[in-house]
């Protein structure tokens, strides 16, 4: 326990000092941290799932508070919570099913599940997932009888089980933890391979002799473009430099070393160039539940330009960037104001920033926001590791990944303090 505590503190510190940058790294580290938190949590005799949820939530709240702008942290915390719930659910339904089928032999049931645990858990999780989201046409068609039966057992199953079958319980408690850790491992795997998965789809979207425009720099975009290049597509890339951090310069350099025909333009030249562009491909900081995108500053302008000239605006985002919150949600911090020194040199302008004379405030103010918000109507397509999606489809994806109970995580934090 103490060493997880130290790990948590260390990670909190890093988050606070903004030492980890990039959603993917943050997401991965959060997941790894939560994995160790789960493995260190002592399991009580009854109600293990809620114990796990409780400990993950406790850590998660602190992590989110440490850097509220990095939405990936909250996303991963919620996904881990969702995993716990799902695994718990799958175990109880399996136990119920086992009870129904072979009510006499408890031992057999256990051994049976031990033989092929991953298979059964996954299958039941998939089935139970449908119970967590509002019924869609698809689920209604697919498994009507199951979804009707499961909710009833899930709510009361854990407790009634615990009373009747204590021997089963202890094995199941170990089982739950084991399954959850397995699933979190899968999540970590997903996060670290999301770029490749996204890049695999590149050839379907980038065609011969096309002109692609991007702004700033995103590793996902870089790999996406390179994947298309490797498949012998020949196309050109316009890179808008992405003031004030000018990461577009780095991207252009990287693209050139990979042998791509690259043109660097200023951000303000985007509108002038957009008519020659076939497709805009950009990365995102986070994708909100309504399909809106929080992205590096300047992207809204690009999206508007693209809309004006009917150029498809494609956003690449790993599934860890899907945020179950809506941008109008008061807890969502849409922006971070970085140091104005990225814009101008303090020394050169220090005489304009004198507070000491005149009215006591300088006439010069410098504001340096990091992010822009692109409304869903400006986005043509999202490409995630699970494929291409419409902005209007985002909430469905989110329902797959998160359970509705966890969305309020942050509200509790805010009112708690």
């Amino acid at each position: 326990m103490p060493d997880t505590q130290a790990l948590v503190n260390d990670f909190l510190n890093k988050l606070k000092k903004r030492k980890i940058e990039g959603s993917q790294a943050t997401a991965k580290q959060t997941a790894e941290l939560l994995r160790s938190v789960i493995s260190q949590t002592r399991m009580p005799y009854t109600n293990q799932a809620s114990a796990l949820i409780h400990s993950v939530k406790a850590v998660g709240e602190r992590l989110i508070a440490a850097n509220p702008v990095e939405l990936a942290v909250g996303n991963v915390v919620r996904r881990v919570l969702h995993i716990i719930r799902e695994e718990d659910l799958s175990l109880t339904t399996a136990a119920m099913a086992g009870l129904n089928l072979s009510a006499e032999s408890d031992d057999e049931d256990d051994t049976d599940r031990d033989n092929h645990p991953a298979l059964s858990a996954a299958a039941i999780a998939a089935a139970s997932r449908s119970t967590l989201r509002p019924p869609s046409l698809q689920t209604l068609l697919e498994d009507v009888p199951d979804s009707a039966a499961v909710p009833h057992t899930s709510s009361s199953g854990g407790d009634s089980e615990g009373k009747s079958k204590s021997a089963d319980k202890s094995s199941r408690s170990r089982k739950l933890k084991h399954d959850v850790i397995e699933a979190v491992n899968e999540l970590i795997q997903d996060i670290s391979t999301c770029r490749e998965l996204i890049a695999e789809q590149a050839v379907e979207h980038i065609h011969q002799n096309e002109v692609i425009l991007t702004l700033g720099s995103s590793r996902t975009v870089l790999e996406f473009l390179c994947a298309a290049k490797e498949k012998k597509r020949s196309f050109r890339v316009f890179v808008a430099e992405g003031a004030p951090r000018y990461q577009g310069h780095l991207l252009a350099k990287e693209l050139v070393t990979r042998g791509l025909q690259t043109t660097l333009i200023t951000d303000s030249a985007v509108f002038a160039m957009i008519s020659r562009v076939n497709m805009v491909i950009v990365g995102a900081h986070a994708v909100m539940a309504n399909g809106g995108v929080i992205a590096p500053v300047g992207l809204n302008m690009v999206a508007l330009a693209a809309q004006k000239h009917a150029v498809p605006f494609v956003v690449l985002a790993g599934s860890h960037k899907l945020c179950p919150l809506y941008p109008h949600h008061p807890e969502v911090l849409l922006n971070e104001l970085r140091s104005p020194s990225e814009l101008l040199d303090f020394g050169e302008f220090s005489d304009c920033l004198d507070f000491g004379s005149g009215i006591g405030a300088p006439l010069l103010h410098v504001v340096n926001p990091t992010f822009d918000y692109v409304p869903p109507k400006l986005v043509s397509l999202f490409i995630t590791d699970t494929g291409g999606h419409n902005p209007s489809y985002m909430y469905r994806l989110i329902a797959d990944y998160y359970s509705a109970d966890d969305l309020v995580l942050e509200r509790r934090t805010a009112s708690g303090n």
């Binding site: 606070k16 000092k17 440490a66 780095l250 104001l337 004198d354 507070f355 000491g356």
Partner: protein
């Protein structure tokens, strides 16, 4: 964003070898050893004063931690118990890889004493960062540290690297935006060695003096007045032993730095490291408290901004970048607060007015109280109803200690503050009986003493106050400066021989020579024109070419064509005087010859009457000063010019009219040419008559 990671890894990756050998240490002086923050500092140490709601020391510690420092020694002196208690209860005591150790002392009265004590403890084992607990920064130490180490390898005498930052001082008040005096530094631009440091230059003198050897020894020296000392130093161990060897060193800058620079002890050298994009500043006085607070709110210190530093969600940057903090303050209705700092648990009743004041914890402003700009209210002061606290006054529950030392910097902080604490306890105990006695000072129901400002100090009060400098002060300063300039211009001719150095070294800078410069310019322009003209005469240059050349000169000297006409005429007449002649008539012939040959040149610069009048005036001036021989010939030459149609009769008549009202002495030439003018007038009349 994947690419954002790069910055992070670059910042974290410090040379592992170097760090492995010596964990980087830092000495943090949790006492500034000054009295500038009195009376607040009598009750609470300066480093614990809230800066945008967070105690100052947190900014410093957070920076040290993120800059890769692993061990910090916090030197506490005044109110050491408060500092130690705070640190123990704060998060800093439980950080992994970052240890905070406190060193307590009760008899240190200066930074020098503190460093001597630390030397005795023998805890510093390598290079260390010396910083005071009121410094805010977000710079990366990696590069500065590397530079320092590289220099050390080459030259063991490079014992200290000072961090400086560009910051232009205000030309009017001669102080930086932090309220400190203008700082002069001489730096060798190649090696970055610091050669001269002066933070208390005397402006009345208008110049600073540098040691001659300084310029002799260094191939190039740049004198800066636009650098700000960040008070972040990277020191080698020798610094500590130097303080021990020179037991009279008290002040870090005034004694130590200057001592090293002036006395040249054992050839030790100090270098500078300039930071550009990052921020660093020290809170030295109330003005810098104000400035740095605002810088923090504007996020220059990112990531050390309150919403990041403060772990709890007490402070959050909300949308539109407004900060919201829970302060437990009660503010009544109809209250005006402008540019003020209000700390915790403050009660402000209805109808109060606060302008640019600092209001400490627990203060109560009764209804209708008015704080004028620059007021400091220390802890728990109560201001009575309708009472107006005069500008720049400092109010405290504690009585003002009698000043023992005229040198404000070298306060015996411990002794006074110790008694201060005692007294405060006593005061809190029997506040009720005292009430009536104190009440008079702060209106009815008021509690607290208004500190008296010492004679002479009052003038300086506005310089360091939280309140912006009032406009009338600025205007007054501006006027003073103009007067100074005039003085300087008079001296200018003598000093200007050292031209270049002066413009650099003098804070007032190049502009103040403008007047004198333009006169200088004209003289040299005239000389140039003359030379050109003479060349034209001797080499028989065509008139067109000469016109061209003079025109070029006119442009390069930025002169009007009026000046050209005068200058050319002057050169012509000078030539006439200088060419051999025996009598006045011969001189007249000379002049006539020259005028005839070069009339076209002269004419091409005389476009209107004003320019022609200028020529006459010039001629007059010549006759009086440089070429007195012409004095007798004045009317003849005038006639000659008229004949050659260089001067129109209008010009001559107008000149005459202008001169009519002048002094008798000025009329000499007018009288001499009276006949000619008379003739001109008559000719005119005749013409008019003919016309009729």
């Amino acid at each position: 964003m994947g690419a954002q990671k790069k910055g992070a890894t670059a910042r974290v990756s410090e040379d592992p070898e170097e760090l492995a050998r010596h964990p980087l240490q830092a000495i943090l002086l949790a006492d500034s050893f000054t009295t500038k923050f009195r009376p607040i500092t009598l009750e609470r140490p300066k480093v614990l004063l809230p800066l945008v709601n967070i105690p100052m020391i947190n900014y410093t510690l957070a920076w040290l931690e993120s800059a890769g420092v692993e061990e910090v020694f916090v030197f506490c002196c005044a109110h050491s118990k408060q500092v130690i208690d705070y640190l123990e209860s704060s998060e800093w005591s439980s950080q992994p890889n970052f240890s905070v150790t406190t060193i307590e002392s009760h008899n240190s009265i200066s930074a020098g004493d503190a460093l001597r004590l630390i030397y005795e403890r023998n805890v510093i084992h390598g290079d260390f960062v010396l910083i005071s607990g009121d410094t805010v920064s977000n710079m990366s130490l990696t590069q500065a540290l590397q530079e320092h180490k590289d220099r050390r390898k080459k030259d063991a005498n490079a014992i200290m690297t000072m961090v400086v930052k560009q910051s232009k001082p205000s030309p009017i008040t001669q102080q930086s935006r932090l309220g400190t005096d203008e700082l002069f530094m001489a730096i060798n631009p190649v090696t970055k060695q610091l050669l001269y440091y002066e933070d208390k230059a005397e402006y009345s003198k208008g110049f600073i003096s540098l040691d001659k050897t300084l310029i002799a020894d260094n191939p190039s020296v740049i004198l800066h007045n636009d650098k700000q000392d960040c008070y972040i130093d990277i020191c080698s161990q020798e610094v500590l032993s130097l303080f021990t060897d020179n037991f009279d060193y008290q002040h870090l800058r005034r004694h130590f730095v200057k001592g090293l620079l002036v006395d040249d002890i054992m050839g030790y050298k100090i270098f500078t490291h300039e930071i550009h994009s990052s921020y660093a500043a020290r809170i030295d006085n109330f003005r810098s408290y104000d400035t740095i607070s605002k810088d923090i709110i504007q996020r220059w210190t990112y990531p050390f901004v309150p919403d990041v530093l403060c772990g709890s969600s007490a402070i959050k940057v909300e949308r539109q970048g407004t900060y919201r903090a829970s302060e437990r303050c009660t503010i009544g209705s109809n209250v005006t607060i402008e540019g003020s700092y209000i700390w915790n648990n403050v009660t402000i009743e209805d109808g109060c007015q606060l302008r640019n004041a600092i209001v400490c914890d627990g203060v109560i402003l009764k209804s209708g109280a008015v704080l004028q700009p620059g007021v400091i209210l220390s802890f728990k002061v109560v201001v009575g109803q309708q009472f107006v606290v005069p500008a720049y006054s400092k109010v405290s529950l504690l009585q003002q200690p009698t000043q023992q030392d005229s040198d404000e910097e070298l306060e015996y902080a411990d002794s006074t503050s110790g008694t201060g604490e005692l007294r405060s306890d006593k005061l809190n105990g029997d506040i009720a009986p005292d009430l009536s006695e104190i009440a008079s000072e702060l209106g009815t129901g008021g509690v607290g003493y208004i500190w008296k400002v010492f004679e002479g100090a009052y003038d300086e009060e506005w310089r360091h106050s939280v309140a912006p400098i009032p406009t009338d002060k600025l205007v007054k300063l501006m006027l003073d400066r103009d007067e100074d300039e005039e003085l300087l211009t008079q001296d200018g001719n003598i000093i200007s021989a050292s031209g270049e150095l002066k413009t650099d070294s003098d804070g007032n800078g190049s502009e103040d020579d403008d007047n004198e410069d333009s006169r200088d310019d004209y003289v040299s322009f005239e000389k140039e024109v003359e030379a050109t003209f003479l060349r034209a005469v001797h080499e028989n240059v065509k008139v067109d070419l000469a016109v061209l050349e003079v025109n070029a000169l006119r442009l390069s000297y930025n002169m009007a064509s009026v000046d050209c006409g005068g200058a050319i005429f002057y050169s012509m007449m000078k030539l006439a005087v200088e060419s051999p002649h025996n009598s006045a008539s011969e001189l007249h012939r000379n002049a006539a010859d020259i005028v005839t040959t070069w009339q076209k040149l002269l004419k091409s610069f005389l476009h209107d009457i004003d320019e022609e009048i200028e020529v006459i005036l010039k001629f007059e001036e010549m006759c009086l000063e440089s070429a007195k021989e012409f004095a007798a010939l004045f009317p003849q030459i005038l006639h000659l010019l008229y004949d050659k149609e260089i001067l129109q009769e209008d010009a001559i008549l107008r000149w005459a009219d202008e001169k009519e009202g002048a002094d008798e002495s000025d009329k000499v030439f007018l009288k001499r040419s009276e006949k000619f003018i008379q003739w001109l007038r008559e000719a005119e009349e005749e013409e008019e008559e003919e016309d009729e």
